[in-house]
Symmetry: C5
Subunit: 321 residues, 5 copies
């Protein structure tokens, strides 16, 4: 169900309201230097009000509802529209969309599900962080996007440690199960990387935006987030290459196991061969020397012993025993 | 057989005619603010009339008939010529070409087979969608291309679910058949991606076209379609990497199966070896202790039991039993 | 042996001469609006005459003789020098070089072997195609290069059908021979692609050349050829990916066959094991129940039957029978 | 624990102090032409002083403490902020961050651990190298970064010789262990390459920086370091390709070993088959010619000899013996 | 040991001296229109003299001595510094560095070992080639670099024929040794390609250098060398892809061999199984029909014959015989 929250502030003032109307938000924009409207799971009526009261472009509002849009920046006359993605990792790893409208005196964020990164921003505002209260809407937008990108790193660390553990397991005890888990991890990394890659360019565009609603100082901040974004993608790229390499390792180790098993089979077959052959020979119903007599047993056993030792020595030389 | 359909409209007027001549279309262009001529499976005479009455460039008309042309935008003096591709998925997956001529007061679409996306646009026009009736030919072109790109996503979802199902099957029950189906899917994805990739640049060009027949507002719309196009290609790229990874998984799992089968062979051979060897030994025609007497049976059976247990224990330690 | 052919024309005039001298060609250039000199397998003297009479740059003439030069455009003061490649597919697939000098009033083509594409151009001229006779040397150059690129597509279709057939064969009956044929096809595709790739940029340069000897209209034509060139390379790229994928398929299917063969071995070994073991047991020279009596036979046969059925049931459960 | 060291010099003057305060550093900046402040493992208070006394941007100071930032150049009004990475190779290979603030009259370096490259710079300064004492802070920054890049090459040589040794081992005696070591080496190379790659662009930016604090002459120096950086990355790229190729070699050699082992098994099985079969035949309790008589033995042995020789000849023809 | 050679010429004059001093070279520069100084294996004193007498930048002189620098062009005020690489193929394939300083009236080349390409240039000069004697130092630089690039092609042809031969061998008789030789060849190609790749850009820069010491005409010449360089790299790229494909072929053929060997084992085992089983059955010490009588032999042999034929027929149907 739709939920609208608003925070408005000026260098010396701060107000926070829950479950308000878009109309009320519009009023606050007039009174405060910065107003932040957060719309959760918007319905049609709310979007219409945003279009009429805030003059948002219908295309941008449509994209804010579509959750398969690649990250991007669209610059309208006095509004910058940004689509960013956050990493969500409950059971599977996935990304979720945050739409941000940035204007000179307000920002509007739209999202679908719980967004803990926004709560962190709210806490900073509630604590009346002076730097934030003094800055404009552009700095608030930066703070939100900065915390969004910062929130990637614990996930990336977890991915890293998953990969490290899998690496250990595969090299110590390669098994058929390992390859499926590697594939699952690789799929996650590829999906994540392709979902976050457009965001690098997005921050690049933000860091070079020369428009009145962005102060020059804020561009420096966006450039910094872009640097962090690049680091996150570099980590994903590195892990993508490593997981691909690990798949090849797994394949070779599996081949190697085939090798080992066949060696065992060959060794067992070969080492017992003299006994089998000699006993078969002395089982023939023909009148050999020692037929049905103890001397036959002595000869048979001696032959077995000599041949088995010979085979064992040969195998040891080959390095199989 | 060639078929020409025309729709013409002005903010307060709307007319639709079937099986008309190109001459009639030309007349409508003069009377209405926007005229949309749709030519299905054009013959030589129709193309000639388009060349003489609408002043289309012969090269563009030639490309409109050739169905292996990569998507592109060609800008002539007062006409923009666009080649776009749609996904057709009957039995096999393939793409089909739509050629669009965009001028200030009319657009001409040329295609070969049934094009359901165009019907969706017609329905909007018939319903006298006010936004559309008020806008120019450039907005009509946007609507057509937007619906074209939107029509990709159900196909991509189907491809995705095919891949997911195949992924499940391969990991649960890898078989030789899986690899052929993976290859077929991969071929489809590669063909689709290479056919649609030029379209990303095509929309990029459209979104930056600064010519009189495109209003600045329309460029915003084309930029939005470009965003959707990028998302579609990202999905294809992601799936292309996953299907390639899955092929490696399949290869390793096949190797692993070889391993398992050889293990079974080795275990069966080894576990029955004591019985085979001992019975062969006691089958020798030499005078061993117990030869032709019950005591021989007891010794033989005891030996078999002891050795089999020993082998079983050794195998269990190796983790093969 | 060197051979020089010349065609000269004006809107209302047309002349064709064989085995002429370069001097004669130079004369025709003065008299007609467009002169096309075709030099086959040039010797040193002819090249010198071209340098002195037509003022060609010695470097360009050198490159025209070297047949390993990547496609390119070199723009001299009043001459454009183009190196293009054609596909030759006799037994093996290969490319051949066509060097074209384009000036305002003439073009000179130099090649080594038979060039059927040029004959097609000549036929058009002989038929006094009015569009061609009216146009300048730049349009003649376009016609030659357009027919060159058009001549790629039958070869690409043949390559495609070769690949399709190989694909079918490999998936139905994978064999060691398949991989060698795949490799041969892949080598052909890679060689062709790398030989033709520079041509895409070459046409890109031609389509943007703003020099007096190219009319603006002609640039539109070159842009169109570039589009066809891109399509040709896209096809090669797609097939290159598919043939690489097919190699992986072949590798996995080979592994799978190893699997099948070992399974057959294991099944045969295991299913006959009870008979082998039981007959070996009853072949022992010890006094078991039924020794040398019919009752022994009954017990042995019963044991064999029971155990064989048990093994068969177990194997069917494993899905191996 | 935080440690601040300072070196200040003018063409004819040189001073070095340990464990100083940031305030003292600020004083030296006023007195000397170049002051170099080195901050090891900075704490919060030191960073605050740097912000207030040297007017460093808080974002830059934050990045100087975060050790996962990709190399970059940030240009502030009169300060250039550079993040560079060094290779640390104790047990595992890793990279460490050096943050450098470059102004007209001073540079501040911040790092976490021991940085031997900086000691090399200090030694040059203590020896009162005239070129250095006469040059500005930009040349000092160049010297530091140049020695940093130069310090990569011994590590790259060590990596190279590790790879060469592994290459030899794998080709001579391929084993399952080899693949794990290859993977470890590949992981190191990939990590290193992705960590150092942004530095190429970083030096590219530095070499093109047209700002007052960099003299034009110094840009030539930075361009030279960029050349060395490119060589280092080329070496890593080459080795990355070679190690990937080696993995494929290892996989094929493992497959080949499977082949060899199965050949041995087949040869042993086949070569002893005549003896096994013939002795089994003559072990039948049926009245064949020579049953329980010496002549049976002669026949049996002759048969075995003839068949074994036949099998041996066949195998030698197949090239297996 | 250091060796300095000098050639100086004017349109009508030519002088060549061996083992001269740098001072003498400097004198010749004043007297002749072009002076070419060739320094082999320079020592510290020679480099110092070059720095003082020719005003070379110390960085350039340092790079001229370091032999691991990627090819590049550095433009100083009135000197262009070029690093180029030649292919050296004694036992292993490698590259060697040639440093060239180009000024308006002289060029200085520095190298370490014998450089046969330079001798070819000297021979042209000694023959008083009029084109060369009339041209400036820029044309001499072109001649040297052109011959350098031309000298790649025989090496590339040799590489090609090595690859072709290996291709033939692998497809006809795949063996474990083949993969090692493929890897060696691949390593050579990768090393060569990565060493020569920067040279393509180097010539690109030279061909676009708009500085007084390069006449416009010379740029045309450098553009031509760039074309040849691109062809050389294209050949390396093509061969790199083919050798990688060949490695996959080798891997699959090895797998296929495993297949063949196991098939042989299975066929031998299965075809002899009826004899083994039947003889084992008739070897039981139980009173079957024909026990110790000739009729048993007839039954046994008949059974063996019937079963062996049955197995053979089954195997032929499977295509294994």
């Amino acid at each position: 169900m739709v939920r609208v929250e608003v925070i408005a502030y000026a260098p010396t003032d701060f107000i926070e309201e829950q479950d308000v109307t878009i109309g009320r938000c519009r009023e606050l924009v007039e009174k405060y230097s910065v107003t932040w409207v957060n719309v959760v799971d918007p319905d049609g009526r709310t979007l219409e009000e945003l279009e009429t009261l805030f003059a948002f472009h219908p295309l941008a509002l449509e994209d804010a509802q579509n959750h398969a849009i690649a990250s991007k920046v669209d610059v309208y006359e006095d509004i910058v529209f940004v689509i960013a993605r956050t990493i969500v990792w409950a059971e599977d790893i996935d990304t979720d969309q945050l739409s941000v409208f940035i204007a000179r005196k307000f920002i509007v964020t739209i999202h679908d599900k719980v967004f803990p990164q926004l709560e962190d921003v709210r806490i900073r505002l509630r604590r009346k962080n002076p730097k934030m209260l003094k800055s404009g809407a552009d700095f608030l937008a930066y703070t939100i996007l900065d915390l969004l990108v910062d929130s990637y790193f614990p996930h990336l660390d977890r991915l890293q440690s998953l990969l490290d553990r899998l690496e250990d397991e595969i090299i110590k005890r390669p098994s058929g199960e390992g390859i499926s888990r590697l594939h699952a991890l690789r799929t996650d990394i590829v999906r994540l990387r392709n979902a976050l890659r457009p965001q690098r360019d997005m921050f690049g565009v933000l860091a070079r935006l020369e428009i009145p609603i962005f102060r020059k100082e804020t561009l420096t901040y966006f450039r910094d987030v872009q640097g962090h974004m690049i680091s996150a993608l570099d980590t994903l790229d590195t892990n993508r290459e490593i997981v691909a390499s690990l798949m090849e390792v797994q394949a070779t180790l599996t081949s190697n196991q085939v090798n080992e098993v066949i060696k065992v089979l060959t060794v067992i077959f070969t080492i017992t061969l003299p006994i089998a052959i000699v006993s078969s020979l002395f089982g023939m119903n023909v009148a050999f020397y020692g037929f049905n007599e103890p001397v036959g047993l002595y000869i048979a056993v001696s032959l077995m012993a000599v041949l088995t030792v010979a085979v064992a020595v040969w195998m040891r030389r080959k390095g199989w025993l």
